[in-house]
Amino acid sequence: MQLDIVTPEKKAFSDEIDSVVVPGIEGELGILKSHAPLVTTLAPGELRYLKDGEEHSLAIGTGVVEISNDRVSVLTDMALDDSEIDESAVEKALARAQDSMKEISTPEEVAAVQVSIQKSLAQLHIKRRRRRL
């Protein structure tokens, strides 16, 4: 099964994989070979894929995943692997977002800040788990 992860800036990932778990808007979505054609929205979070029995993960932002013809295409605005995540910068961004959460009131702003918090958390999650291993 082919997995492609594309952002507007680059093709972040493109390889044959065994299976993938994406953070769908309605919860995690596991995709195996010969999955039915599907399009769904993504929530910022962690994408995990299995290749040659090894699990790898990437932090991804909002976007869409499209599955057809044994091909999974992830369309997102952010895709970072372990080495690209700068932990201290992310922590600062998270703190900033959480601070601004106290000041704002309209639901749209809250939603926007929540998205950025989710993105930061996803990045931290991957970074920290990698260290424990």
Partner: protein
């Protein structure tokens, strides 16, 4: 008439200028290449986005989407994409002339600027500025996304009925064209199509819109409508990102051309000055010889 020393000094200073402009030309050339590459590498994203949109269009009534709905109001928000720095020929002047002409932009329009030159010029023209964004080089998608999200928010809240973008379209290295495009509302027919303005990131082949699954349609989760809701803003984000990339590529190529012209002019000037210098040197030697011979003649 300048004396020899003055000419020598001028030659030296022109040489220095030529060196600087030559360096700037080379820097601009490599940056332009980078901007072009960046636009090209966004290609798979565009293809995929268009593919999903084409498939979605069949399953949803896209006229209902607020970002696609034409409104009667006249309030315009104009995003003006200019450069931060000068020395790039008539690029910013052309764009700002287009913006101030009334056929493209209504006189009551409110502006959002990207790039320092635009905000300076527009405040000199006493136009209303709503916000000023800075976009670093190379362009980061997350930065341009803030701008488009700002525009989407203003559009949806009903503050503005149309959002336009004034930017410089990259046609090729020596020609760039100031353009005003409507960003919002999106014309439904444009969804899933290649935009007309794509210059730098143009794919040599036809757009890859394969019909998706071999048999049957897609399943949409949770529903086609909600997928459309989330994908249309992404389409807008990507459009603006592309427009800014076009501007960047234009900026660097305009600067490259301007600096090439400056270097050529400086070389020509060095040539002229050197000729003048040699003429005067020759004249001085002749005069000296003449003096000696007259003196000898007088002694005889």
């Amino acid at each position: 008439m300048a004396n020899l020393r003055d000419i020598r000094r001028r030659i030296k200073s022109v040489k220095n200028t030529a060196q600087i402009t030559k360096a700037m030309q080379l820097v601009a050339a490599s940056k332009m290449k980078k901007a072009q590459d960046q636009a090209m590498s966004g290609r798979p994203y565009a293809d995929l986005l268009n593919k999903v949109l084409v498939n979605l269009k069949e399953q949803t009534s896209e006229e209902d989407h607020p970002l696609l709905k034409e409104r009667d109001g006249e309030k315009e928000l104009v995003i003006v994409v200019t450069t931060d720095k000068g020395l790039c020929g008539p690029l910013n002047t052309n764009l700002l002339r287009l913006v101030s002409s009334q056929e493209n932009v209504s006189t009551e329009a409110v502006f959002v600027t990207v790039g320092r030159k635009g905000s300076q010029a527009l405040s000199r023209m006493k136009r209303e500025l709503l916000a000023d964004f800075a976009v670093k080089d190379p362009v980061a998608f997350l930065e341009t996304k803030q701008i488009s999200e700002f525009a989407i928010e203003k559009f949806l809240s009903g503050e503005y009925d149309r959002v336009k973008v004034a930017f410089t379209n990259f046609i090729n290295t020596i020609s760039q064209e100031a353009t005003v495009e409507t960003l919002l509302p999106i014309r439904p027919i444009d969804l899933g199509r290649d935009s007309d303005f794509v210059g730098v990131g143009k794919d040599p082949g036809p757009l890859d819109v394969n019909p998706g699954p071999e048999y049957g349609g897609y399943l949409f989760e949770p529903s086609a409508g909600s997928v459309l809701d989330s994908i249309v803003p992404q389409y807008v984000n990507y459009q603006l990102y592309q427009m800014i990339l076009e501007s960047r590529a234009s900026e660097h190529s305009a600067r490259m051309v301007a600096m090439k012209a400056a270097t050529d002019n400086a070389q020509q000037m060095i040539k002229d000055l050197t000729l003048e210098y040699n003429k005067q040197r020759q004249a001085a030697i002749t005069a000296e010889l003449l003096e000696i011979t007259t003196a000898m003649k007088a002694l005889e």
